[in-house]
């Protein structure tokens, strides 16, 4: 067992922290984020810098031009991007689109797209959500009908992250089965400018970008299929696991900043002739924030290593993680806003932005309630008789 960061991870972290200090300084975060309210919602020059610094290549193998990192490396990146409130679309492109390519793509698909992605020349995202589905990955009404060696896609996907700056969409559609059947879902790689693709773009509450994307007889070839026909759900679930780990890392980074910023703010602000932090009601709440952060971080590490090592508990702990991220994230975010008083309500400080981003993360890839339900289904129940010997508990 070993929970130290490697030297490479430490360097990666340092380089992101340096970028954040330069481009996302804490005292300009409000103005900075406001500037990104319009499309594409981020700075292209920053994206190029991500490429130049090698961050876009973190999880990809060296033979495709990546640096061959693992999920722990992605965790390091996401945590630091979270701390920085960075808006560049690392999550949709590298985590969602990248995972789809690496887990589902064939050699041709990977070779034609991944090197460009790593160089910053190509972006993608995942179009999987539909309104009636809420958080259920298997609920897919969009259809893909085979005709003349092509597939025709019809349907609407909702809340597609950064679709307005993506070159490719990975789209889940039904090649068979009823709307909620676990079989019959297939993932397709669709150029964002394909004929019949229509988008309505909008900013999200966390100052990112999303789109409603509709598909009207969008024709793609068989080479657009990611993975096997009809078996897309397993692929979606694997992508979702990685998405949850990444969002978990981003959340833990933000939660840490929240208890630190709150400690600093309340230690400096004097009311009733004492620093606020000296009041036990404030101090203990900060401790509770710290405890929740450390707990969530521990589960993040556990789940990350389990997914990386394909442990049997991985699905269980990923559900547990997303549940805890939602619950702890809300507590920590709300506490920070509360303890900052009026200042916590403003766009000027980071805390409010972390708070909103944490609320937004809870609403993606299943909220805290949804994952508790999923955990409950997988929760191990030991065999054997009841045991009245409760000692030495």
């Amino acid at each position: 067992m070993d929970f130290k960061f490697t030297e490479e991870q430490q360097m990666l972290r340092d380089s992101i922290q340096k970028f954040v200090r330069e481009h996302y300084p804490a005292d300009r975060v409000g103005a900075r984020r406001k500037a990104f309210r319009k499309a594409p919602g981020f700075a292209e020059e920053n994206w190029q810098q991500f490429a130049d610094l090698g961050w876009l290549g973190v999880p990809f193998p060296e033979e495709l031009g990546g640096i061959g990192g693992d999920l722990a490396d992605v965790m390091v990146v996401m945590e630091e991007l979270g701390k920085g409130l960075v808006v560049e679309p690392y999550f949709p492109t590298v985590v969602l689109f990248g995972s789809a390519l690496m887990l589902g793509g064939n050699a041709d698909q990977q070779q034609s797209l991944v090197p460009q992605l790593i160089e910053g020349k190509l972006r993608g995202t995942l179009a999987y959500m539909e309104e009636q589905a809420r958080y259920e990955l298997a609920d897919v009404a969009t259809t893909a009908t085979a005709r003349d060696g092509k597939y025709l896609l019809n349907g609407t996907k909702s809340l597609v992250l950064n679709a307005d700056s993506a070159d490719y969409l990975v789209v889940s559609a039904r090649t068979g089965g009823d709307r909620t059947a676990r079989e019959g879902i297939t993932l397709f790689l669709v150029p964002a400018d394909a004929e019949g693709v229509k988008r309505v773009d909008y900013p999200t509450i966390d100052v990112l970008r999303a789109s409603e994307v509709s598909f009207e007889n969008v024709a793609v070839g068989e080479d657009a299929i990611l993975g096997s026909v009809g078996e897309g759900l397993a692929l979606l679930e694997a992508i979702s696991q990685r998405a949850i780990l990444a969002l978990g890392a981003e959340s833990v980074g933000m939660m840490e900043m929240l208890y630190r910023d709150t400690t600093d703010y309340t230690s400096q602000r004097v009311q009733f002739e004492k620093p606020l932090a000296a009041f036990q009601s404030v101090k203990h709440r900060i401790v509770d924030m710290f405890v929740q952060t450390e707990l969530t971080r521990s589960l993040l590490y556990r789940a990350t290593m389990e997914v990386q090592g394909e442990h049997e508990d991985a699905p269980l702990d990923v559900h547990g993680l997303k549940h805890m991220v939602g619950k702890a994230g809300r507590f920590v975010g709300q506490s920070a806003v509360q303890l900052h008083g009026g200042m916590g309500q403003t766009e000027e400080l980071r805390v409010g932005h972390y708070f909103i981003r944490l609320a937004a993360i809870d609403a993606q890839f299943g909220d805290t309630d949804y994952h508790l339900g999923r955990y409950t289904e997988l929760m191990p129940i030991p065999e054997g008789e009841p045991d009245a010997d409760l000692l030495p508990f």
Binding site: G30, K34, M129, E131, Q132, A133, R134, Y135, E136, D139, S158, L159, T180, V200, Y202, P203, T204, I205, D206, A210, E212, V270, Q271, F272, F279, S281, V282, R330, Q334, V337, Q338, G341, G342, G344, Q345, T346, E347, E348, G352, F355, I356, A359, A360, D362, A363, Q364, D367, D369, L372, G373
Partner: protein, 385 residues
């Protein structure tokens, strides 16, 4: 003990319902028929200023009548009044203002003609409001105060014509003394209003700067140095309004309807037992708190004092407001992300998120929850520091 309304109270309830059905403008008419609405309220005998005492033209309702009014109006959209004047300043003017001040300001407040804002908090004086530093110095000839300093979190400050303001006229003695209550015309030279953008990008609060702002001495309410005493009573008033129990019951009722419109596969969110249990837990507490408010009103009616149950209203009321807001964004689900696009997801999702964000302030303003608990410990439980 008797839970039921008296015969008179029931009649009043019917009267209110009938009146609202007949006179309340709906939907698009909310602005066009606003004046007619206020006139009809006035014609009822002061219903336009329900909290005002009869001697100032109010209806002179009992506490239970106020409760009935709140309950009956909470579920309907009423044309907005400007709360800072009517609800917050007016009681102070009535009690501590001079006859001239009352005649000068109350009619315009009642007519919703003049927008007031409140100048209390300062960057260095939040929970510890009495440590405020905005300085008012009386000119040598005694004709005016010269005000310097800054106020913050000034709701509607950018739209107000007047501010009622706590200023420091003396630094000697306990900090609660030496505070003076001034009425300041916002057009006076030397005043700058700077917007503060709050979570989600709203602008309704401001910071206000005073640079040698001259305020005629006749705009001082009551005596110099007594402003804290005047304001404290008003803060109590503000707190019971902030509890907003009737509003929260209405919000919960809307939430149930909205949750029923949220699709979860082939069912709705109201079929989800764990979500429904959360609604139920909240509703049970709300029904308890509603009755705590009634107990407090009944006590007030009989003894003139609101009783101990009242102390929990603001603390618990704001908590339950926030709980309903949380449950609203949970109902919106993925569409909690929706910040401006009306066609994505259920219609309530956009406003639901803004309410959630703005709602965080409820446990901060008007005495933050932490200070409220200190106050209950001291005043109700007699715990010494």
């Amino acid at each position: 003990m008797d839970i039921d309304y008296t015969q008179e109270e029931r009649q009043f309830q019917q009267q209110v319902r009938g009146f609202l059905d007949e006179n309340l403008p709906r939907g698009n008419e909310m602005w066009s028929k606003r004046d007619a609405w206020f006139k009809s309220l006035q014609a009822q005998g002061g219903w336009d200023v329900p909290k005002w005492p009869a001697e100032f033209g109010g209806p002179g309702w009992t506490p239970v009548q106020h409760y009935i009014w709140d309950r009956e109006t909470a579920g309907r959209s009423l044309p907005p009044v400007l709360p800072f004047g009517q609800v917050m300043l007016a009681p102070i003017l009535m009690r501590y203002g001079s006859k001239e001040q009352q005649e000068r300001f109350l009619p315009d407040i009642r007519a919703n003609k003049v927008n007031w804002c409140q100048g209390y908090s300062e960057p260095g004086a939040g929970s510890d409001l009495a440590s405020l530093k905005t300085r008012a110095v009386l000119s040598e000839d005694g004709s005016k105060y010269v005000v310097n300093g800054t106020k913050i979190w000034t709701t509607m400050g950018h739209m107000a014509q007047w501010m009622f303001c706590l200023t420091r006229t003396s630094s000697e003695g306990p900090k609660q003394e030496g505070i003076t209550f001034l009425l300041i015309n916002m057009k006076t030279p030397g005043i700058t209003v700077k917007p503060i953008f709050t979570l989600g990008g709203s602008h309704h609060v401001n910071q206000v700067f005073f640079d040698n702002v001259e305020v005629p001495v006749e705009n001082r309410v009551g005596e110099e140095g007594k402003g804290w005493t005047y304001a404290k009573g008003l803060l109590q008033h503000e707190r019971s309004g902030i509890a907003g129990i009737s509003r929260t019951l209405t919000a919960l009722s809307k939430l149930k309807k909205n949750a029923r419109s949220v699709r979860v596969g082939d069912r709705t969110l109201l079929d989800d037992s764990s979500y429904k249990r959360k609604l139920a837990e909240t509703e049970i507490e709300l029904r308890a708190l509603e009755f705590a408010e009634l107990r407090s009103l009944a006590d007030a009616q009989q003894t003139g004092e609101p009783g101990t149950a009242s102390s929990i209203l603001k603390l618990k009321g704001t908590e339950l407001q926030q709980r309903v807001q949380e449950l609203t964004i949970e109902a919106a689900g993925p569409y909690a992300l929706n910040a401006g696009f009306k066609e994505a997801g259920p219609k309530f999702s956009k406003m639901g998120m803004m309410m959630y964000l703005n709602g965080r302030a409820a446990t901060v303003y008007g005495g933050c929850s932490e200070v409220q608990k200190d106050v209950i410990a001291k005043r109700v439980l007699g715990i010494k520091d």
